[in-house]
Structure formats: C-alpha cells, structure tokens
C-alpha cells in the first residue's frame, strides 16, 4: 500500500487496521480489504475533483459500515475458537470493549445518563449469561413443549432454567428494573425475599410428598 504524493494517508487505512484487530484474517482479506480498496481506488480516481472525492468517501464509507452491519450474519466473521489463545485476541476484546464504551457515550449524549446506566447494566448481565452458558452448554434452558407461540419479547416468553444462568438472568433483570425505577427497590426486595421463602417451603413440602400434584395416571405413578 502506498500513500498519495502529498504524504497523507488514504481514507480507510485506519479502519482496515482496526478491522484486522477485530475480525478473522479470512474475513478481512475477503470482505473488508476489497471494500476499502474500492473506496481508495474511487477516491484516487477522482483526482483533484472535490465533489468526486466527497462522493467516493460517502459511497465507500457507507459500503464499509453496511459490511459491519452484516458481520453478525456472516459465517466466517468471528475468529475461530482456536484463535482465542492468539496474542491478538486480548487486543480484539479490548477494541470491542472500547467500541461498546464509545457507543454508550454516544447514547449518553443523545439520551439521559440513566439510559446509559441501564444499557451498561443490561450489557453486563448479557455478557455474564453468555460467558456462563459458554462454559456450561448443557445447562442451556430447553424450550417449552408448546408447538408454536406468537413471537414476542417479554420476560414471560423466555425459557430460564433453575441454574446459575437463570439466577444471573433474574438478578440482572431485577437490577435493570431497579436502576430504571429506583422507588421499586423496596417492593422488589420484599417480593424477592417472599418468593425465596415460598420457594424454600414448597421445595421442602414436595420432598415430603413426592407424588403430590402428579396426574392420576397409573403408568406414570408405576
């Protein structure tokens, strides 16, 4: 790669460097590199025409950010598992963290500080659940037996198992709600304590009456 005669760096050079830290070598060489090469070739072909250069920049950068939006959908965007131990992995993780923080700061400028705190808490909760399930893949909550249910995003439609992952989900959700609506803290604390007490008593009762509540089905009972 060479620079223009006036010694300035060509557009996209820094983005390519950052992308090479964050993504796999294959993804960079097959997708990111050609996208930036197109941007630079159009930019150089525009010569001294300022309108042409501006147009090349707009088109090139919008193509680059469209590629970034497609990253989660591409099958070879993420680094391979074996690459986790590579020296660059920590740098990529750090870059990802910095990007997330930058997005949070942007959100803080647009919304209220409390929105940033909520997003950060939600992100921490999501990362914790993700890491826990990565280490305990067999504990992933199995979906219920319902053949179909309408698509919805709410707490009641989420399958949560009675394990540490479920605990992180519940505590994290409570944390997010409390951060968003602080005056609910007392009610939620009282509700959580009463719920724990009730669960403890129910568990004890079912230990003493193991067949209680089962259907009157002889095959099942046998």
């Amino acid at each position: 790669m060479t620079s223009p005669d006036d010694g300035r760096r060509l557009p996209g050079t820094t983005l390519l460097t950052i992308a090479s830290w964050m993504f796999s070598e294959q993804f960079v060489s097959t997708v990111v590199h050609p996208t930036i090469a197109d941007l630079q070739s159009e930019f150089v072909a525009s010569g001294s025409n300022r309108v042409g250069r501006l147009r090349a920049l707009v088109r090139g950068y919008s193509a680059f950010w469209t590629v970034m939006l497609h990253v989660p959908l591409t099958q070879w965007a993420a680094p391979e598992r074996d690459a986790d131990a590579a020296p660059g992995f920590a740098v990529r993780q750090f870059a990802g963290g910095v990007t997330a923080l930058a997005l949070l700061f942007c959100a803080g400028a647009l919304f209220d500080v409390s929105a940033v705190i909520l997003m950060a808490a939600g992100a921490v909760c999501a990362v914790a659940i993700h890491h826990w399930y990565e280490r305990h893949p067999l504990s992933t909550a199995a979906p219920s037996d319902m053949p179909w249910r309408p698509p919805q995003i709410n707490f009641s439609s989420m399958d949560v198992a009675g394990n540490v992952g479920g605990l992180i989900f519940v505590v994290g959700s409570l944390l997010v709600v409390v951060l968003g609506v602080p005056f609910l803290l007392t009610i939620l604390m009282a509700g959580a304590a009463a719920g724990c007490l009730l669960a403890w008593r129910l568990a004890a009762w079912y230990r003493r009456h193991p067949n209680a509540g089962l259907p009157e089905n002889l095959i099942v009972l046998r």
Partner: protein
C-alpha cells in the same frame, strides 16, 4: 471449502452469469454491471461465501508502477461455478417448461 447446496441463490446466479459472460472483474464493476441488483455493502460478503463454496476464485490486481491505494481483488468463475451455472440454468428452464405444459 464450504458446502455447495442444491440451489443457487439469485445473487450468486447473477454474479456467476456476469463473470461468465463478461469475464473476470472486481466487485465494484460487478455492482455497476448489475443495474442495482448488487450493492456495494454486500457484494464482497456474497463473493466471499461463493469463494468458500468454490464457485469463484480471486487474486489481487497487480499494482501498476506509481499506483497508490490498496490493490483490488479480481474475481473469476471456477470450473465448478461455470458448471453449476449451466446446470442451474438448465434446471430452471426445464422447470419453467414443465410448469407451462
């Protein structure tokens, strides 16, 4: 190499068609030739997937002396890609003929 499935998505068919009929070209030229069917932001994702399947192959364009900027990547269809396009075209034609009659 990725798995070649029994179907050829419309964008991959278009890319193969352009590469077979017009000859090797880079991604931006494919976008320009496609009359808006291919987008700059997604063409390399599709080309990368096709390369993984073995339908196209690519090499970096040689940089001329004094040239500046990153070298571009030139794509050409592989023998498998060409055969796949012919087979897929024949199949869709047969299917259309069968549906009509």
């Amino acid at each position: 190499m990725g798995r070649v499935t029994g179907t050829l998505p419309a964008k991959e068919e278009l890319i193969l068609d352009l590469l077979v009929s017009e000859g090797p070209m880079h991604g931006l030229a494919l976008v320009e030739q496609s009359d808006g069917a291919l987008k700059r932001g997604t063409v390399y994702v599709t080309l990368g997937r096709m390369e993984a399947k073995g339908l196209v192959e690519s090499e970096q364009e040689p940089v001329p002396p004094g040239g500046i900027g990153l070298p571009r990547r030139i794509y050409r269809p592989t023998a498998l890609g060409t055969r796949m396009l012919r087979a897929w075209t024949a199949f869709t034609r047969e299917l259309a003929w069968g549906t009509k009659s």
